[in-house]
């Protein structure tokens, strides 16, 4: 008997063959290692496929994830063509830090983030205002050199639009007071380029 193809093996598995055909395949499988292996592999695939227990995220959550990239890294249009977009790396996030032993939390603690792009650090603290579903965002643009980034434009963007604008004070500090909870990108316009940070409000943090 020739080798058994996948189609026949599936019919064999599903009990769709006549007794005579089944006996022939039984006999072939008993001495053909290749066909036995194929049968075993097909069986394993079916078990995997039939036991699939993965879950689809809600459509809006998936869309949020897919849109996350959009506002970032897209070429920034500028009048003089000199503006560069710098992506800062998140170097510290209290959300990732374990709580101190013995500390019981009352309400959501402020979230502290530190972003770094080249020699510029941006320190951001996000505080949730539970009473009115808003957040306050306080930050400071710092440089490893002596200078402060004063009078520097800082923007909060969401859904591809600039929602709030402010300027840093003489020591590079900025405040966005009680803005609605949302996912924001924070941009800092520096002479060297525009720094974009991910600043997301996490509902449970």
């Amino acid at each position: 008997m020739r080798h058994v193809n996948a189609e026949k093996l599936m019919e064999y598995r599903d009990g769709q063959l006549t007794e005579e055909s089944k006996a022939m395949i039984d006999s072939h499988l008993s001495h053909c290692g290749d066909c036995s292996k194929m049968r075993q592999e097909l069986q394993e695939f079916l078990i995997w496929l039939e036991s699939d227990s993965t879950f689809e995220p809600p459509a809006d959550v998936l869309q949020w994830g897919m849109n996350l990239f959009q506002p970032l890294l897209q070429p920034t249009a500028s009048v003089d063509g000199k503006v560069r977009k710098i992506v800062a790396s998140l170097v510290f996030d209290t959300f990732d830090e374990p709580a101190l032993a013995g500390v019981r939390r009352v309400g959501a603690p402020p979230r502290q983030l530190l972003f770094r792009a080249g020699d510029v650090d941006v320190d951001v603290k996000i505080e949730s205002v539970e009473s009115n579903e808003r957040i306050s965002l306080v930050g400071q643009v710092l440089s490893t050199s002596e200078k402060f980034f004063d009078n520097t434009p800082v923007k909060l963007e969401s859904h591809g639009m600039v929602r709030y604008k402010t300027m840093t004070n003489f020591v590079g500090e900025f405040v966005f007071d009680e803005v609605p909870k949302d996912t924001y990108h924070l941009s800092v316009d520096l002479p060297e380029g525009q720094i974009t940070l991910f600043c997301v409000h996490r509902g449970n943090s």
Partner: protein, 189 residues
Amino acid sequence: MSGENYKGFGDPELVGLCLKGDSRAWEALILRYRRLIYSIPVKFNFPTADASDVFQAVCLKLIEHLHELKDESKVSAWLITTTTRQCIHVRAQRMRESSQEDDFEEPADVGVNVEDIQIRTQEQQNIRNAVDKLPDRCRRLLELLYFETTNPTYEQIGKTMNMPVASIGPTRARCLDKLRTVFRQKGIQ
């Protein structure tokens, strides 16, 4: 969804394109791993809100760490580890919130078999990745047969696929055989 067009791309290619600013490559990456990321918190028995939070947090971490994954062919392994850690973190946070004990300690037992979840998730992602590499007709048929949550009947599948019901069995067998080939090419089995 435009990310669909990038289905044939490998993970390193997608990550490389993301780093060049291609948002469609990012969409493709999220589409590819959406179930992997979301299934882990669900298997931790998290409610939808917490599972969604974990999904979002992991998406953010992925974007923040893309540059580290540039030469990494195992994005799935990184995602499984990161998502699991995030779940353990959220679980600990929830327990802390509900704890009446002043001397609360980090839970040693998270209530689920983490290793088992990780292994199963990786296996299922391997299968999904292999199915994605099949010709469109095969992919669609296997998706309808095994991944469709509405459990369509053979009649409904025949109608959707414009295929006689009698052909579904033999076509399925040929598609499974192709899946075997994909797995062999990828060196998974």
